[in-house]
């Protein structure tokens, strides 16, 4: 708020300067793109950090030019881990699929010309930038003030996410185009909407928790007794406890973040799978219900986790029950993806490859998740490496695959050019093999670390195996990170030199954003407001000129539109494709 002056300027007039066009713009497309740039910057920063961490793990003595000037205490390593986690989780996994793609494409897909509250959108974006700056600064200050700053930054991020969630839900509820009823919404929009509601709930709680934590640290209150316990310990104990505290806080927040990051990815992947299989989403309604289920269970699991991590020792039982019940909606989603792929003539382009990669990673990550959802097994199998492997596979990498798939899919819309397909495929296969080589052995490491304590094991051989696995992981990480250079090259090259998209609808997709030229003109839909006549996934329609019918295409006889639409839907159901 208070940005009325800047908002009053027309942000898209070509004569206006850089600042009013990109910085002070309240336009949803500019803000969405800004989020994507922010995520791109953060993902490369975060990847560089993971590289540093692995190098440090394998060659602890190595002196790295930037880090040695900051001192090489264990605190530094913990701070690096925290920064890697916070950047990736908040700025990449949370911001890119929801705020980035969401801000850009939610209004376009529902036929609105702007988000419901553009000024709030603007405010949320710059609060996110402020929180990125705060998170990054924590690395350069002392651990004690670093933690305070970190919590404050997370609180700012929470506030920004709340503003975003408010904007997204109101936009979806009130700004849909004429004729776009809820059953006709694309599943991407459903996912963004449900995620916004989920975010509304959990970020409020997170904000309350942050307020309590901050008041503990700054005003000496006693909301979290653990912190008081730490502060009365002798100095040496604090030094050891601080990294653990950092890690605890990281997990405390990450539990909520998993579902917030995954939900929009489910939507994106379902959309891609349907579009490139040229088939309607199998059991679309059930998929929407499953998405709601992920939202509801995700909220409950997180609420339980909040208690189990600090307050109540009895809640792990409930927590594990709820965590297991998250498997049901996930299974439904998986069944729908496979059902859509069944007997389909799949277009295996890079976007689809990434969507399939997401499904594969989600499946294998989910299998190891079964271990973790069960409380007893988790206690036995959980060690750092096992959790790290599981978490990265299912959340970090899978979500990144969904984001990349969406980027390959929407790049023509965003910039009017295509990403290079062959370079994209090479990038995909190296990354796909790479992440399996990195995170699968981490599960073994976790199990080996556990077996080390069992009696009668030859310690030396286990340790040797573990260290060779560690080296293997590090080599795989180096390769995978450098493979991302391919993506960067592809991205930058295609941005300026890529094949121009001449067709309005290069993927022959059904949703509204493909009904006008790319990149979108200033007045997206032109003079006339779009009207929607049908569902979002009418692929493989018999008697149609092509194998799909766009949502904005009016039926042949308008007066019978209602009837013919139900007929078309019925035929799709009956047709064994």
């Amino acid at each position: 708020m208070g940005k009325d002056d800047s908002g009053a300027k027309p942000p898209e007039s070509p004569r206006s300067g850089f600042l009013s066009r990109y910085v002070f713009s309240t336009n949803h497309k500019t803000i969405g793109l800004n989020y994507l740039w922010l995520a791109l910057f953060s993902v490369f920063l975060g990847m560089a950090m993971s590289l540093l961490m692995r190098i440090h793990l394998v060659w602890p003595g190595a002196h790295l030019p930037i880090l040695s000037s900051l001192g090489s205490s264990p605190d530094r390593f913990a701070a690096l881990t925290t920064l890697h986690g916070s950047l990736m989780v908040f700025l990449v996994l949370t911001a890119a699929p929801q705020a980035g793609f969401g801000n850009y494409f939610l209004p376009l897909q529902i036929g609105a010309r702007e988000m419901a509250f553009p000024a709030l959108n603007f405010l949320a974006f710059w609060a996110t930038v402020a929180s990125l700056l705060g998170l990054t600064t924590t690395f350069f200050v002392s651990p004690q003030s670093g933690i305070t700053l970190w919590i404050a930054s997370v609180a700012v991020f929470c506030a920004a996410s709340l503003l975003n969630a408010l904007n997204f839900s109101v936009t979806t509820i009130d700004l849909r185009a004429h004729g776009l009823t809820l059953p006709r919404l694309p599943l991407t929009v459903w996912a963004w909407f449900i995620n916004a509601i989920l975010g509304m709930l959990i970020f409020s709680i997170l904000l309350a928790a942050c307020v309590c934590l901050l008041s503990d640290r700054l005003m000496g209150t006693h909301f979290f007794p653990v912190l008081n316990f730490l502060s009365v310990q002798p100095a040496g104990v604090i030094a050891n406890a601080v990294p653990i505290l950092w890690r605890r806080l990281f997990w405390f927040f990450a539990q909520a973040e998993v579902y917030v990051a995954m939900l929009p990815c489910f939507g994106l992947v379902t959309h891609l799978v349907s579009t490139f299989s040229r088939k309607p989403v199998w059991k679309e309604r059930v998929v929407v219900l499953a998405l709601c289920g992920v939202g509801v269970f995700g909220f409950c699991v997180w609420g339980q986790h909040m208690f189990s991590s600090g307050m109540n020792p009895f809640s792990p039982l409930v927590f594990s029950l709820l965590a297991s019940s998250l498997g049901l909606p996930s299974l439904i989603l998986l069944a729908s993806w496979l059902g859509t792929l069944w007997n389909a003539r799949v277009h295996l382009n890079t976007a689809m490859l990434f969507a399939l990669g997401f499904i594969s990673l989600f499946l294998s990550g989910g299998l190891s998740g079964i271990f973790l959802a069960n409380h007893d097994l988790a206690a036995a199998a959980v060690s750092d490496d096992f959790v790290t492997g599981h978490f990265h596979l299912v959340m970090g990498v899978a979500a990144t695959f969904a984001i990349l798939g969406a980027l390959f899919f929407w790049f023509p819309k965003l910039f009017g050019r295509r990403l290079n397909e062959s370079l994209g495929k090479i990038h995909f296969w190296i990354t796909f093999a790479g992440v399996y080589c990195v995170f699968m052995p981490m599960h073994w490491l976790g199990l080996i670390a556990h077996s080390r304590v069992s009696p009668g094991t030859p310690l030396a051989s286990v340790a040797a195996a573990a260290s060779s696995i560690r080296a293997f992981i590090t080599v795989a990480i180096v390769l995978t990170v450098f493979a991302q250079g391919l993506f960067l090259i592809n991205f930058l090259w295609s941005l300026f030199r890529g094949d121009k998209v001449l067709d309005r609808n290069p993927w022959r997709s059904t949703t509204l954003e493909w009904s006008f030229t790319s990149p979108p003109p200033a007045d997206d839909f032109g003079a006339n407001d779009p009207v929607v006549y049908r569902g979002a996934y009418e692929f493989g329609v018999p008697d149609a000129a092509e194998d799909f019918v766009p949502q904005h295409l009016a039926p042949a006889c308008p007066e019978q539109s209602e009837r013919s639409r139900t007929e078309i839907r019925g035929e799709i159901r009956k047709e064994p494709i």
């Binding site: 002056d5 503003l163 408010l166 004729g179 059953p183 909301f223």
Partner: protein, 227 residues
């Protein structure tokens, strides 16, 4: 929801209320959850977003704020149960007067809206300003309550109960000040050039204000019963 097929189409055809000038800051900005704002320049001429979005936003914002306070309340209840050394805070008597002031303000707000619907502009303005003054009085009363507690030597860090007292009253006051801002906005803003019409603005402000009222009753009951 997927089960319901007969969802009515959303009508986006609304009369053009905005003249295309600078965007207003709509009322009912609520504290840190920021449920307010939005300057929609009418730069596309024809298209103007549904005016229903304001009431939707305030409803969602209210739910969000409610969750925020419920999280604090559940922490209060859990810590109250588990703590053996719970030192109670004697609630300052001025709180009861404050509660009456806040309840009265809800009443004057509704009377003001009735005046507005009767097209009695001056009566509306008078009652609306009364509401605003009562809102300020409430916040001042809360500050007096804090001063009284400090005079007794009860600080925020004294014990868990006092921490909760200060956090509850402080967070509520911050959110209420957002409501006061909305009241002031409606009092002094000319509504000829804004996207939002005066009755709509008054309506959603009243939702927010009554919510703040109810929330305060809830918090007071919690603090009173939890001692």
């Amino acid at each position: 929801m997927p089960g319901t097929t007969a969802v009515p189409d959303i009508e986006l055809i609304v009369e053009d209320i905005g003249g295309g000038g600078g965007g207003p800051t709509p009322p009912a900005g609520g504290g840190d959850d920021g449920d307010g704002g939005g300057d929609d320049r009418n730069r596309h001429g024809k298209w103007s977003p549904s005016p229903k979005r304001y009431s939707t936003a305030i409803a969602i914002g209210i739910v969000s704020i409610l969750i925020f306070f419920m999280a604090l309340a559940s922490a209060f209840i859990v810590l109250r149960r588990s703590s053996e050394l719970w030192v109670t805070v004697r609630l300052p008597p001025v709180l009861w007067a404050n509660t009456c002031v806040l309840l009265a303000s809800s009443f004057t707000l509704e009377s003001a809206r009735r005046r507005l619907s009767l097209a009695d502009s001056s009566g509306f303005r008078k009652l609306w300003l009364t509401t605003t003054v009562l809102g300020f009085l409430f916040v001042a009363g809360q500050l007096i309550a804090w001063r009284q507690l400090v005079a007794q030597g009860v600080y925020i860090a004294s014990n868990q109960a006092s921490s909760f007292f200060y956090i509850f009253t402080g967070a509520h006051a911050v959110h209420l000040l957002g409501g006061v801002g909305a009241l002031l906005f409606i009092s002094f803003r000319k509504f000829e050039k804004t996207k939002i019409s005066l009755p709509t603005a008054a309506e959603i402000t009243s939702y927010y204000w009554h919510f703040m009222d109810g929330l305060w009753i809830f918090l007071l009951a919690l603090l009173y019963l939890g001692k």
